[in-house]
Symmetry: C2
Subunit: 239 residues, 2 copies
């Protein structure tokens, strides 16, 4: 492990699910908002369904069928489908804007701020997320994530797991791929990063999708680091 702590200069983090708890946060936020505004729904099911539209919504951009479009816009398009499905058509435009921005109001997992603060003392830390720049900026302010900089894939006009996401980060930081560690609770993100030479760190988020989760419960490959959470990652990285 000691060579990692001297080789790695920057650690970049998947955000949704890995650093912040989108399912719990959206459920809490929209439950309260629904009560205050007279909308009733199974907000957990609503959050899970919304998230399930995330990967398909980016596919048109990744395949080149559609010009680069920021995630806020893709979220809004999915929201319109959900509103019909959940019978929430009474929402005004202003309410839809507010609900869509729930993705800017996500709480970190309990270990996120503490673990990242320790890592920042030695490494450059940044989100490498498909969330757009303003979304990631708002989350960081909202929940107190101490990023050094914001490496939204919006900067590189692409979406993970496209290789230019990971290589764009290395170029922007003027680092070799082996000096950058991709950190995530998702094996597929790490595999794409490793394929272009980045170091990798994994920790599980076994309730990201709820109690019945079946994916990403364990490390699927021999990642450079397998940790319990971001605090443990900090310990293993020597801070």
């Amino acid at each position: 492990m000691s060579s990692l702590t001297t080789t790695v200069k920057a650690m970049v983090f998947d955000t949704f699910g890995s650093v912040v708890d989108w399912r719990g946060s959206i459920t809490r936020d929209l439950t309260r908002w629904g009560q205050e505004n007279g909308f009733e729904a199974d907000w957990t099911a609503f959050a899970v369904k919304w998230r399930s539209m995330y990967q398909p919504s980016m596919e048109a951009v990744r395949s080149g069928k559609r010009p680069f479009t920021i995630l806020d816009v893709l979220h809004r398009e999915s929201l319109e489908v959900l509103i019909k499905e959940f019978g929430l058509e009474a929402m005004t435009e202003a309410q839809r804007v507010h609900v869509n921005k729930v993705w800017h109001r996500l709480d970190g997992w309990p270990d996120a701020v503490g673990g990242l603060t320790r890592l920042k003392s030695k490494y450059i830390i940044a989100p490498l997320s498909n969330g757009n720049i303003s979304l990631l900026t708002d989350i960081a302010k909202y929940t107190g994530l101490p990023w050094d900089l914001n490496l939204s894939t919006e900067v590189f006009r692409c979406y993970k797991p496209q290789p230019q996401s990971y290589l764009g980060v290395c170029a922007a930081l003027q680092l070799e791929p082996g000096e950058v560690m991709m950190c995530a609770a998702h094996n597929d993100d790490l595999l794409a990063a490793r394929n272009v030479g980045l170091k990798t760190a994994f920790w599980p988020r076994p309730t990201e999708h709820g109690p019945g989760q079946t994916t990403n419960l364990v490390a699927a490959h021999d990642w450079d680091i397998v940790a319990r959470d971001i605090r443990d990652l900090a310990t293993q990285m020597g801070v």
Copy 2:
């Protein structure tokens, strides 16, 4: 002033000269480095000459004669000229790389960290600088600037004062120009920002270029805020 403190959501800062003291920092850094490595020069004159090549070096990019090229590369090209001029040809390649990176090791003016920390409690704060992403990241780590995100013009593939620098920031943050304040010790930067609708804040750095400085000693226009320094800017912005 009270309407500014409710309208403005993000404050973006010119960095070289406005937030960090390039002349003093380079003089200190290279004087020590020269003593340790056997190179003698008037390092203040060296710093001032280097900086004087800054605007001309970006002009080929701004005019479209040259594809977007990051500032580290432009700095290096200027350095090669300076090395000849100052008779420092004995520098090895590794030494030239180290010296060129002096722009990544700049100290903040004494009010910078304190003032920015206060502003961050209410506003999104970021550098909007022609420094490239890694340069600005390194400066922030080196001197402790608490940016929320890094809005190097490298993100927008242009150089200030091109309008797309300022408008790119507004688009990335999903804010109207009137919700973003350009903050600088340089009147021309503020004028370009105001021309596309941003709010403006000025404070002087009367020794940025040394004791004989004749430019930017006072506000040349009726900027939204004229402050003594970044601490005073924080006070005027209500934090």
